[in-house]
């Protein structure tokens, strides 16, 4: 089959690789009909996530048609249309039973690697480094889905691929980020990053009852997207974010702040220079500019919700603000499984049509160009979907 392979930092090639096979009784093989490039794929592309190997198949946002199931998969059949959550979860360990699916204790065969970096290992993920399992991803013609009796959700015939594809990651990710804010009537939510996850965080915050949402980015076209969802917008290259947020919230600060940026943040010159130097010297692994600002801007007793990916160690983390101002930090890779059904219902009811973020439709063979375009935000790129 053809697959988009990571061949090194900033180097992708679409290659012919062996077709996946059923390896365990609870596996399924899915023929991909639609797959997307995620902002977190750019961290892999840019070489920020350790334990990638030449030839790794990328992609963790995908859906398709079941073509084969293992002997223990009773809920799926050949021909079923399914969306597959990006974390791999067994459904039976203690943390799966608590619906903390992205922390599944059994799905990462390389858990020992993650333990060395983080103390304990989270679940395995599709196409996201060997430290997180080394599972081939879904930017391919076919994918093997472990624990297929737990993860994939069947798609009703009346919904198109593009309407449900993002249940695999960014819709639940934006939704969980908003849910983690424990939104109360009258709440004002600020969202750093108006990329795809930020867009879903904005929509989700409104769905969950936020009074106002303020989106922060530097690309006017992305801020326009946010505005169309009903958000107020701030361009951090034009205004001082802390001051402006204070002004917009009667001096209180936003009730909750969502970081939908993650480890490769950009920011005002000095801070960006500082983190860039530190990461270049390998004294810091992530650039935590957005989260620092979110913490300093949040109102006393508020919540900072992290949806962006961080990988290692950050510097100049304003812990004093967190403690003295009683902030709550909520985080985690998305427990996608628990959001599949309720969010599918939202889509069916017409509360939201997730396809609004799609700006580019490519063939899988054009994946390398898609990454470049998404990385550099050329042609007002918001979200790239690909078909094999």
């Amino acid at each position: 089959m053809r697959a988009n392979c990571w061949m090194g930092t900033k180097k992708l090639e679409v290659h012919t690789v062996p077709d996946p096979q059923i390896l365990n009784p609870r596996d399924a093989i899915v023929r991909i009909t639609c797959t997307a490039i995620c902002g977190s794929d750019l961290h892999l592309y840019n070489g920020w996530i350790p334990t990638m190997r030449r030839g790794d198949v990328l992609g963790h946002e995908f859906m398709g048609e079941v073509v084969e199931v293992g002997s223990a998969v009773k809920n799926l059949r050949r021909g079923d249309r399914v969306v597959v959550p990006f974390p791999i979860a067994c459904g039976h360990c203690n943390l799966c039973e608590k619906e903390l699916y992205s922390l599944c204790e059994n799905s990462n065969p390389n858990a020992w690697m993650a333990e060395k970096l983080w103390g304990y290992s989270p679940s395995g993920l599709f196409g996201y480094s060997h430290m997180l399992g080394g599972y081939p991803g879904g930017q391919a013609e076919y994918v093997r889905v472990p624990f297929a009796d737990v993860g994939p959700i069947k798609v009703p015939d009346n919904l198109k691929d593009e309407q449900v594809l993002f249940l695999s990651d960014i819709f639940p990710t934006g939704y969980m980020a908003a849910e983690n804010c424990n939104i109360q009537p009258g709440d004002v939510i600020a969202v750093w990053g108006a990329g795809p996850v930020g867009q879903f965080a904005i929509k989700s915050a409104f769905l969950l009852g936020a009074e106002r949402v303020i989106a922060i980015d530097r690309f006017p076209y992305r801020l326009d997207f946010a505005r169309r969802s009903g958000a107020e917008v701030l361009n951090y290259e034009e205004v001082d974010i802390y001051e402006e947020l204070r002004e917009l919230t009667g001096g209180r600060g936003p009730d909750s702040c969502i970081d939908a940026v993650g480890m490769e943040a950009h920011g005002p010159a000095i801070q960006y220079a500082y983190d860039k130097v530190k990461t270049n010297l390998m004294l810091e692994t992530d650039r935590p500019i957005a989260v620092r600002q979110a913490i300093l801007s949040c109102r006393n007793g508020g919540t900072v919700s992290l949806a962006g990916v961080y990988g290692g160690f950050v510097d100049k983390f304003p812990l004093g603000a967190v403690v003295n101002r009683a902030l709550t930090i909520k985080s985690g890779q998305t427990h996608v499984h628990r959001y599949l059904r309720p969010l599918m219902q939202r889509i069916e009811k017409g509360d939201i049509d997730p396809s609004f973020v799609i700006t580019h439709r490519l063939k899988l063979s054009d994946a390398p160009e898609g990454y470049e375009m998404f990385l550099h935000k050329t042609d007002e790129c918001m979200k790239v979907v690909m078909t094999p």
Partner: protein, 233 residues
């Protein structure tokens, strides 16, 4: 790393700013280390342990504990059927019962090296504890025990395993020492992780067909040096 960024050095490049940036960079160097040191310690701890073992003794003594989301009777039942052990213990080829309390263990090592010994149960308390030791005259004197304690909060069983392999010397013994690879603790950790996977999910997690072998040889993959690369692939 991406180079096309908004920061434009020319934009605020007066001398005060330059000095400030330089100071920050120096500060960054001086402050290096917390993360680096922590990571380095974590990564080298097992290597150091291996080094010490190599100098002082090649005996292998490992303690490991895992919580398994099954009741103690199920976990005990699986372990008590000693023939099951090779399903998750990588160095074992087979365990065969040769009497009420006696069993024959066959292990495989590097380069096709094989060794076998007989063992006897010395403690068997249903759903609580099993202990065994090799019979006298074994090439590889060894003993082990496993406890099955109920985990608090209905979380199944806290499994506590202790293994002791004596490696007295000589060529055969050296090969025996290699049964567990360079990182015996890690290998036994992987063994118990597989046991947990079997008991909780009914299968052993594997990423891809060509990695079944790799999954069984974690030490080989230590080529990933997080501390050195600072998070860069």
């Amino acid at each position: 790393m991406s180079k096309k960024k908004v920061w434009n050095p020319g934009r605020q490049d007066d001398s005060a700013e330059s000095r400030k940036r330089l100071l920050m960079a120096i500060g960054a160097v001086a402050g290096a280390a917390a993360a680096g040191i922590w990571a380095t310690q974590r990564f080298s701890r097992s290597e150091q342990a291996g080094w010490l073992r190599a100098r002082v003794s090649r005996d292998i003594h490992v303690r490991k504990t895992y919580t398994i989301n099954r009741q103690p009777d199920a976990v005990y039942g699986f372990w008590r059927k000693l023939e099951n052990l090779p399903q998750f213990m990588k160095h074992l080829e087979s365990v065969e019962l040769i009497g009420e309390r006696r069993s024959r263990w066959r292990a495989k090592g590097p380069a096709g090296f094989k060794v076998e010994w007989e063992a006897e149960l010395i403690d068997d308390r249903p759903n609580e504890r099993i202990a065994w030791r090799s019979l006298e005259g074994s090439t590889v004197p060894n003993r082990g025990s496993v406890r099955f304690d109920p985990a608090p909060g209905s979380r199944g069983t806290e499994l506590r395993v202790e293994l002791f392999y004596e490696v007295p010397g000589g060529r055969a013994a050296q090969l025996v020492g290699k049964l567990f690879g360079e990182e015996p603790e890690q290998q036994i950790d992987e063994d118990l992780r597989r046991l947990k996977q079997i008991l909780e999910t009914g299968e052993i997690s594997v990423a891809a067909a060509d990695r079944r072998r790799e999954a069984a040889q974690p030490a080989e993959s230590l080529q990933y040096d997080f501390a050195r690369t600072g998070g860069k692939a």
